[in-house]
């Protein structure tokens, strides 16, 4: 024991003359740090209810509960996370995974209650004092729990693609597909948006597992055109994919394509091996497009004798005659169609209703009819000079090319329109060696065509002139060529809502001469094969079928579907219409079975 050891401890008194460490008012003076992980905030407007927070929460602290306000919005499940603060550990994984970036944490941390049942709340819906807190934990910039960027799709280089009808998109390899499939958060929001309600998360899951056969089976449950849809689907699913809110959506279409690409056609019967039911019913289907064939496929599975009547020489409808082969090679389309036919669907080519066989006979001979004749009539622009011989329709040009005929378009052409048909016509024309100018009434951003299509067509050298309203078609004096007069448009906001509308500016007119003009402003259905009585019975209103359950029309045996009925004009809705009609026809043919089944359910 040294003297130092006795005296040194008295240094302790030094502290008595300093400021205490104590926080004066601990409950008031110490808010959480700016990035403190306190109570949850959810911006319910941005949230899409994907449930990733629910999935990642290791404590099962998050329930997804229905919030009426948000039910029925496209790309929104109508569910919002509800937190159980008897479980939450404030790890913030839910914030990190939040696909919409709507979930965050406040720096509030005090919640005291006598009742243990109190600690529940739906963030953003239940009124809590911290909802407006500006501080708190946010996911840091550059920190992700899933890759936000899509795996780049290998494409044919533009220099090559512009000269060939070979498929532009090369497709993922296994590694890429696995990586891309890995980005899926398996929320299933896309399932609702997909017109066919395909099991998107499940077949993406099968890619991760490497079980492509299972993926194919899953796809065929809702869609007998996976090879086709894997290439040209309008993929509304991707537009609502929550992963796409802060990053790029999962490439659902390419993954679908990937699965089909992995499976050889000759393995289809073994893999799918659909059970064919027993039935004595006969069903006729008018139109061998996606809608008709889809209905045929699902009806055939029930065992009905299905006959498809097709006016052209090949099946596929718009898929074959409207979609150019650099987007959808015939061989891929055939892969789908051949399997449908393989399960025993009978098809009669070059058979036009009204010409070769009357609708009434069909009605007589069959137990049910499904009509899906699509939109085969190109819309007319109804401008002066439109009947000029050098004004071609986009549909015609595409059909000619698909059938191997030369559409005879010349070297310098104009395409009018902004939809996929216009794009296809333009890109086909480029491949045929023409300089293409595309005139569109509105802005590029308003185009209904796929963004990819627009980008690719521009890359391939299509010149897009936006806000150009064609006003008149003129003869180019003394030549085979044709003149078009068009006026610039300005975009005007419609006070009643809707997208901005283009208004012609009469003082800004242009005239240009082309070898031909391809008009692709829209199509309508041809009801010519139906007598007016039948048309009356079908009760078509404002150009549409009156909606009845299961694609049923007002006529007893008649079901309709596809572009013909739904006007969304894409293959996937036609496919779902066909599927749904098949379901409806089934119910119609076997009402007892369904009543029994429903009674059993209850």
């Amino acid at each position: 024991m040294s003297l130092r050891d006795l005296l040194s401890p008295f240094y302790v008194w030094q502290r008595a003359f300093e400021k205490p460490y104590t926080t004066k008012r601990p409950t008031l003076d110490r808010p959480g740090a700016p990035a403190y992980r306190g109570f949850h905030i959810n911006i319910t407007e941005t949230c899409v209810g994907c449930g990733s927070c629910h999935t990642i929460c290791q404590n099962h602290a998050i329930d997804m509960v229905a919030v009426d306000e948000y039910v029925g919005r496209d790309g929104d499940s109508g569910l919002r996370p509800r937190f159980d603060y008897g479980r939450c550990c404030w790890c913030g994984l839910c914030v990190d995974i939040c696909t919409a970036g709507s979930l965050r944490m406040s720096n509030e941390y005090a919640w005291i209650s006598e009742d243990p049942g109190d600690f529940h709340f739906t963030a953003g819906i239940d009124d809590k004092p911290w909802q407006e807190n500006a501080l708190g934990y946010r996911r840091a910039e550059g920190y992700h729990l899933y890759p936000p960027k899509r795996i780049t799709m290998p494409m044919l280089p533009v220099e090559e693609s512009v000269n060939t009808f070979d498929e532009v998109v090369r497709g993922y390899d296994k590694e890429q597909a696995k990586k891309e499939a890995d980005r899926c958060v398996e929320c299933g929001i896309c399932v609702a948006t997909c017109p066919a309600h395909m099991d998107v998360p499940d077949y993406i899951h099968s890619i991760r597992d490497g079980d492509y056969e299972k993926g194919l089976q899953l796809m065929y449950r809702t869609n007998p055109f996976p090879a086709t849809c894997g290439r040209i689907c309008t993929r509304r699913c991707e537009s609502v994919c929550p992963v796409g809110i802060l990053g790029e959506p999962v490439a659902i279409r390419w993954l679908k394509r990937f699965i089909v690409d992995q499976v050889d056609k000759k393995d289809y019967p073994r893999i799918l091996n659909e059970p064919i039911g027993e039935s004595d019913f006969k069903v006729a289907i008018i139109g061998a497009g996606p809608g008709g064939l889809s209905a045929a496929y699902y009806l055939r599975q029930q065992g009905h004798a299905v006959t498809v009547y097709e006016s052209r020489a090949s099946a596929g409808g718009m898929l074959r005659y409207g979609v150019p082969s650099y987007r959808l090679p015939d061989v891929e389309l055939d892969k789908d169609i051949e399997h449908i036919l393989a399960i025993g669907v009978d098809i009669k080519y070059d058979t036009e209703i009204g010409r070769d066989i009357s609708f009434e006979t069909l009605l007589e001979d069959n137990d049910a009819i499904f009509m899906s004749t699509g939109l085969s009539v190109p819309s007319s622009m109804r401008i002066h000079g439109e009947d000029h011989p050098r004004v071609l329709s986009g549909l015609q040009v595409l059909a000619d090319v698909a059938s191997g005929r030369d559409p005879g378009i010349g070297k310098k052409i104009a395409v009018i329109g902004g939809g996929n048909v216009a794009m296809d016509a333009a890109r086909v024309s480029r491949r045929l060696g023409a300089d293409v100018t595309l005139l569109y009434r509105r802005r590029i951003s308003d185009m209904p065509a796929d963004d990819e299509e627009i980008d690719e067509s521009q890359a391939e050298g299509v010149v897009i002139v936006q806000q150009a309203i064609p006003v008149e078609v003129l003869d180019a004096d003394g030549t085979e060529r044709v003149c078009i007069k068009w006026g610039e448009a300005k975009m005007v906001d419609d006070p009643k809502g809707g997208r901005p509308r283009p208004v012609l500016q009469e003082d800004r007119m242009h005239t240009e001469t082309y070898d031909c003009i391809i008009s692709a402003i829209g199509q309508s259905s041809d009801l010519g094969y139906l007598s007016s009585e039948v048309q009356d019975q079908l009760a078509i209103e404002w150009g549409r079928f009156k909606p009845v359950e299961y694609q049923h029309t007002m006529m007893e045996k008649v079901f309709v579907g596809g572009d013909f009925a739904n006007r969304t004009a894409d293959a996937i809705s036609a496919i779902e219409d066909g599927h749904h009609a098949a379901r409806g026809i089934n119910r119609f043919l076997n009402p007892d079975a369904f009543i029994k089944a429903e009674m059993q359910d209850e």
Partner: protein, 148 residues
């Protein structure tokens, strides 16, 4: 046509004529669906007529100064013949052209009368017809010019 009432009566009559026109066309239409559309147009015109009647009795006021959006679609489309199997597109074109004609008529007359209450009424009627035209043009823009 010197008094306001006279002008309004004329306008009401015009609307009635339009309604009759659509009914007549509907009678000849081939399909029930097209018939329905045309009868709807006719109803629309009758509705316009009612508005004008209300203006006459003072229950409704015209709004001569109002800016109405002009999509100018009716300006450059071709004239369409009335026929039995007329399409929806054509029906819309006929309708918007008729409204445009009425609008032009009132504007013309308005330009000729001196400034005052009468002119205001005529202007108001013109606006009213413009509104009707916009209705059909919007429908055309939405349903026909879908661009796909």
């Amino acid at each position: 046509m010197n008094t306001i009432d006279e002008i309004l009566d004329y306008a009401i009559d015009q609307e009635q004529q339009a309604a009759d026109f659509y009914e007549e066309v509907a009678k000849n239409a081939e399909t029930a669906s097209m018939k329905k559309i045309l009868l709807d147009f006719s109803e629309e015109e009758k509705h316009h007529k009612k508005i004008l009647q209300a203006v006459k009795t003072g229950e409704h006021e015209l709004t001569p100064q109002q800016e109405i959006l002009d999509l100018k679609i009716a300006d450059y489309l071709v004239e369409v013949e009335v026929s039995k199997n007329i399409s929806y597109q054509d029906a819309l074109i006929i309708a918007m052209k008729r409204e445009r004609a009425a609008y032009e008529l009132y504007t013309d007359i308005a330009a000729r009368v001196p400034e005052g209450h009468l002119r205001e009424v005529l202007d108001g009627l013109a606006r009213e017809e413009e509104k009707h035209k916009l209705f059909f043009e919007t429908e055309y823009d939405e349903r026909i010019l879908t661009d796909n």
